[in-house]
């Protein structure tokens, strides 16, 4: 049974216009952890020769998953914003395959939430990219 916070966060995340435009679907959400998928789309190609999705689209997926992990964390809150996000691109995502990112909000202070994320295509043993980020925490939410 999903708790109230996760339910509110789910509704909010499902309504983000840019994430919707990129075809993102929230696959799983629990306290402080989010999994979001993004299907392959030729409009998102960054390299015309290899047909690989542009890194920017992967960044958007990582940012959305990171924000979702923060929103669903009991000590953070819905009104979060990204302070800093670093993405490491390990390998090109295989064309036509869906990319799935999982983000974990592993630490929250009164002001900042810290997040780690990993993105994979069908070959889940070799991540496409990893990310670390810091997000804002809405005042008054933390105990």
């Amino acid at each position: 049974m999903e708790n109230q916070l996760v339910k509110i966060a789910r509704q909010f995340i499902d309504a983000l216009p840019h994430s919707k435009r990129l075809g993102m679907v929230l696959q799983d959400l629990k306290e402080g952890e989010a999994t979001i998928s993004m299907p392959y789309d030729p409009e998102l190609i960054g390299d015309p020769v290899s047909k690989v999705i542009h890194g920017g689209a992967v960044s958007a997926l990582m940012d959305t998953a990171g924000g979702a992990a923060v929103m669903s964390h009991p000590q953070a809150g819905i009104g979060t914003a990204t302070l800093d996000l670093r993405i490491d691109y390990m390998r090109p995502a295989t064309p036509v395959q869906t990319i799935v990112a999982t983000a974990t909000c592993y630490h929250v202070t009164r002001s900042v939430a810290f997040v780690r994320a990993t993105a994979c295509d069908d070959d889940t043993a070799r991540p496409v990219a990893t990310a670390t980020g810091a997000f804002t925490v809405v005042k008054g939410r933390s105990a």
């Binding site: 216009p17 920017g56 958007a60 996000l85």
Partner: protein, 169 residues
Amino acid sequence: MKKPEAVATVKRRRDAALAAIVGQIPYIKFLNVSFDRHGDELTATMAYHDDLIGNPMLPALHGGATASFLEVTAIVGLTWVSQWEQIEQGELDLEALQGGAISLPKTIDFTVDYLRSGLPRDAYARAVVNRSGRRYASVHVEGWQDNRDRLFAQATGHFLMPDQDAKRT
């Protein structure tokens, strides 16, 4: 003394090269990003549209849209700088440039620093190539909206340069 080239010829060559670089990346079109050129200086514009919004309650640009915009600006800026000499010498066959003839650098890492929330209006960005070697490059990008001095985001990225030798064989 050699007679200087006609301004129209110079502009046509540079604009064709820029259009070829930009036109081969579908994601630039998806984001609605365009590039203005003054000499060798490029300024990117991400024209506002509702699909760029992250938080509809504020409303504010999605952090991912901002990151994408800055990364696209960095890649085009780096490609532009690295191809400039060839463009100026007329070594690039502009007819042949359609459909991916210019190899693009690959992003190794990209770090975005969000300074203020992105407003629901056009955003601008410029890239500076701080170091461009044979294999690696480091690029810094600044993004702003209404005031050039009030950045809403900046980013630094490292890129793997396309293999020049492989391309010539």
